[in-house]
């Protein structure tokens, strides 16, 4: 069933692009404004643990897919039920990524273009790329990781050279105590962006060597966590904690302050480009996860035929999920990060692994 294979380096690229996704641009960790960089680093540890759990689940049944593993752990019926839950979750999560990107594009540069048109064309591209299979997606990721690193490096140099970084904005560290930093790390950042890694459980079975996934994943998480932390630290130091906390898209605001010799100024375009590329991969990976889960559940021979239908569902879901940005953001904070992500990316995987271990220990005792 899984003929297409990706290698560890490609997995690395995909994870980094995925993690940078929208998290680079959106404010994350709502409560620790100034210390958000610290919270990200703290959450990174939890993120790695979560990834190890996903990897462990996939590793138990190297021959089967994500849903296949769940079925083997929970039995066919309960497993399929959980699979259905995940299908819905992946689709909804994908829709949210799409909506976020669309909203950001509309507010930043395309105020005359309807949101639906932007989202539709974005999703069309996603569907095209995903329908070519995970191998192509991973190879494209490899190439675009280079692009993003160059863009990011260039952007950082511009920000540093234009002299708008005020490190004192980051001080004092932990003004409100360690509690807020921890709360922001484990209540919010661990869920978004690290908890969303659950969709990699659907991609890990495509690795050419299942064992290589763990190292690549951990490295990728460390890399992306560091980049995220640095980026948000720069954002705070440019904008100050107050503006950072209140703005919708802080990175945007920070980069637009770049001005070198009145010639290089307002490099928002670079941010838009980075945002489009990274959230494209986030969207595509979520979409791919949804497609493989759906193909498993409905026993579709050629999973990639589902790209179009799943893409359409995602598109309309993204339009219907909320009426406007405040509602969307509130839902994201309360419902997604409060309920959905903890359940889907922590509770169920931990439960699955626990059930697996219990069953195995019972099985080995009876033997």
């Amino acid at each position: 069933m899984l003929k297409e294979k990706i290698n560890a380096r490609q997995l690395f690229s995909l994870i980094v692009l995925f993690e940078l996704g929208t998290a680079l641009v959106l404010p994350i960790g709502f409560v620790s404004h100034r210390d958000v960089w610290l919270s990200i680093l703290l959450a990174l540890i939890g993120g790695i643990l979560l990834f190890l759990i996903y990897d462990q689940i996939v590793r138990q049944y190297p021959e089967s897919t994500f849903v296949g593993s769940i079925r083997q752990i929970m039995g066919t019926y309960a497993g399929s039920l959980i699979g259905f839950l995940y299908l819905g979750f992946f689709i909804h999560n994908d829709a949210r990524v799409l909506r976020e990107t669309g909203e950001l594009l509309v507010t930043s540069a395309y105020d005359m273009t309807p949101l639906f048109v932007i989202c539709a064309f974005f999703m069309l591209t996603v569907v095209y790329v995903v329908s070519k299979g995970v191998e192509v997606l991973a190879r494209t990721g490899e190439i675009y990781l280079l692009h993003v690193l160059i863009l990011g490096g260039g952007g950082t140099i511009l920000i540093l050279f234009s002299g708008i970084v005020h490190v004192e904005n980051l001080l004092p560290v932990m003004e409100d105590g360690a509690g807020k930093v921890l709360e922001s790390a484990y209540r919010y950042i661990l869920m978004f962006p690290f908890g969303e890694m659950i969709c990699f459980a659907a991609i890990l079975p495509s690795l050419n060597r299942t064992s290589s996934g763990r190292k690549a994943g951990i490295l990728a998480l460390i890399a992306s966590g560091t980049i995220l932390s640095a980026a948000h630290a720069i954002e705070v130091s440019v904008l100050g904690a107050n503006i950072y906390g209140r703005s919708t898209f802080p990175l945007f605001l920070a980069v637009s302050k770049v001005n070198i010799m009145d010639f290089i100024q307002r490099m928002d375009g670079l941010v838009i480009l980075t945002l489009i590329i990274t959230s494209f991969f986030k969207c595509a990976i979520n979409c791919y996860a949804a497609i493989t889960v759906a193909a498993d559940l409905f026993r579709v021979r050629e999973p990639m035929k589902l790209a179009m239908p799943v893409g359409l569902v995602v598109l309309f879901n993204s339009m219907m999920t909320s009426n406007d940005w405040p509602e969307f953001a509130l839902k994201g904070k309360e419902v997604i990060m409060g309920i959905l992500l903890p359940v889907y990316s922590v509770a169920i995987p931990v439960g699955l692994l626990a059930v697996h271990w219990i069953r195995r220990s019972i099985g080995s005792k009876t033997l």
């Binding site: 290698n7 540069a109 273009t113 932007i118």
Partner: protein, 530 residues
């Protein structure tokens, strides 16, 4: 519809239609049949004579202008006519094997064979060979007498180098093979021949170095060539279209070149060369995307310059692909990115222009493409006139008339010039076409459109393969060892491996020898030849 089917059945019957049968023994009948089946064509020359050796009636047949008449006169006619019945040879030998004896003992020519069948005979004669019929024997001796007019070896016109060999391929496959063989003097340079085209019967040869080229690739090339069903092959482009992967892709998945040194370099990397009679363009497969950015000259100049030029070429590629679309996007969506003073001057220029930037760009690009096409097709003598008209009308007059802004003229001409830096013309074609699509998406969605377009193009490039090799090879999948000669070009002694995916079996070029100081004998690492 019916007509077409009829035509097809006719063409497919043509080669075998009238000549499946073996040759007869009667000389007159044979000659008559030959004449008849070629429609008494004037250029079929049949000369009857008597063979001195056996005192039998005989005849030779050949196509005028395809043969070297000197060879026929000197070595075919003279040697067969002269001599008398040999007293030493006994009668029985004479009776049984006259054709063989003539072939083995009389004809002082390198290539000779005996054809027993009309099919074989016609194929040979039409190829420039001469057939010798002897009365009373069912068969004909085929001697190789290729000749006729050929273009001599000249400097290739489509790939010009400052430094490098000035030889280019010609229309004759024999010359082309000799040009390659002269560069690769190894017994491992193997060749396979095909005849493609029911009517044209074109000679197609594949060349590869055994032990370096992947066996699977060679087999695949052979399989695809053998499966071509068509009436005629006139240029390598036709073969390419039949055997290439992803025929609907805009990107060329096979490389063509006029230069023997390019082909030799390709063979050394483990590629397979496909030579087609009648065209100087030789195909190389498998091909990767970055091959189209490389010129053989990169290896003839020093490596610093090669790196500089390759980087420049890549930048030029990006300009020629994205130039107008970035301008359109910046002007219509992202004005804030343009420095204020520049923006003011651009705005002043665009004040009188009635069109949106997209239309403006389209107008200019389209006229540039028209000019370029005209430049290729028109007779040489008019060239000057057209370029003057193009420069003045499209440049100055259009700006003065307020149809386009002068910034647009700069962008379009820069794009045009950048596209000429591409060493491979066929990659330039795909870029020209993609440029228009990207312009549309930039006009609709600005940078967002360009980014989506770029993603689609990249994903497409990542999805295609050329004879089993991923097209974006050293970048996706990323292969560190092959980066040495892709966008960079490291010094010779670092280039000790062949492209990893292309020659999977034998990837070592040399044993990492460094240039020795003067006086010391350089320890040449020779390419492994088994």
């Amino acid at each position: 519809m019916i007509k077409r089917r009829k035509l097809r059945s006719q063409t497919s019957q043509q080669p075998s239609g009238n000549s499946v049968s073996p040759l007869g023994t009667d000389l007159k009948a044979n000659l008559q049949r030959m004449n008849r089946s070629m429609g008494h064509s004037n250029d079929l020359v049949i000369r009857e004579f008597r063979i001195g050796y056996v005192q039998e009636d005989a005849a030779i047949a050949f196509i005028d202008n395809l043969v070297d008449k000197k060879i026929i006169g000197e070595f075919v006619l003279r040697s067969t006519m002269s001599g008398t019945a040999d007293s030493e040879s006994n009668a029985s030998e004479r009776d049984i094997d006259v054709l063989d004896t003539i072939k083995n003992r009389i004809l002082p020519l390198g290539e000779a064979a005996i054809a027993k069948e009309w099919n074989e005979l016609f194929a040979a004669v039409l190829n420039g060979d001469t057939a010798i019929f002897v009365n009373g024997y069912a068969g004909a001796i085929i001697v190789s007498t290729h000749g006729g007019e050929h273009r001599s070896v000249e400097e290739p016109s489509s790939e010009v180098l400052i430094r490098g060999p000035k030889e280019g391929f010609t229309e004759s496959i024999a010359t082309n093979i000799s040009l390659v063989r002269r560069r690769l003097k190894t017994r491992n340079l193997w060749m396979d021949g095909f005849k493609i085209g029911n009517v044209t019967q074109t000679n197609v040869g594949i060349l590869y170095i055994k032990g370096i080229a992947g066996d699977k690739t060679v087999e695949e090339v052979k399989r695809r060539l053998a499966s071509i069903e068509t009436d005629g092959v006139l240029e390598s482009g036709i073969v390419e279209e039949f055997i290439r992967d992803h025929p609907f892709s805009l990107f060329p998945t096979m490389y063509n070149t006029e230069r023997p040194d390019s082909v030799a370099a390709g063979l050394l990397e483990g590629r397979v060369a496909i030579l087609i009679d009648g065209t100087p363009f030789v195909l190389l497969a498998p091909t990767t995307f970055f091959m189209f950015f490389q010129s053989p000259e990169d290896h003839y100049h020093n490596f610093q310059f090669a790196i500089f030029i390759r980087t420049l070429r890549f930048v030029a590629f990006l300009i020629s692909l994205l130039g107008p679309s970035i301008y359109v996007a910046a002007i219509s969506f992202h004005q804030e990115m343009i420095p204020t003073s520049l923006l003011l001057s651009l705005a002043a220029q665009r004040e009188g222009v009635p069109f949106p930037a997209l239309i403006e760009a389209f107008l200019m690009e389209a006229s540039f493409e028209i000019l370029r096409e005209a430049g290729v097709r028109m007779p040489r003598a008019i060239g000057q006139a057209v370029s003057i008209v193009g420069a003045i009308v499209l440049g100055q007059a259009a700006v003065q008339a307020g149809i386009v802004s002068s910034a647009m003229v700069i962008v379009v001409s820069l794009t045009g010039i950048a596209s000429f830096t591409m060493p491979a013309y066929n990659m330039g074609i795909s870029i020209r076409m993609l440029r228009f699509m990207l312009m549309i998406s930039a006009g609709l969605f600005g940078f967002f459109g360009i980014a989506l377009g770029g993603l689609i193009i990249t994903a497409h490039l990542c999805s295609i393969r050329s004879f089993g090799i991923p097209f974006m090879a050293p970048f996706a999948p990323f292969i560190a060892a092959d980066q040495k000669d892709t966008l960079l070009r490291l010094p010779r002694w670092f280039l000790n491996t062949r492209p990893r995916l292309i020659s999977q079996e034998n990837t070592t070029r040399m044993n990492g020898s460094k240039p020795a100081p003067p006086g010391d004998a350089a320890e040449e690492g020779s390419p492994d030849e088994n």
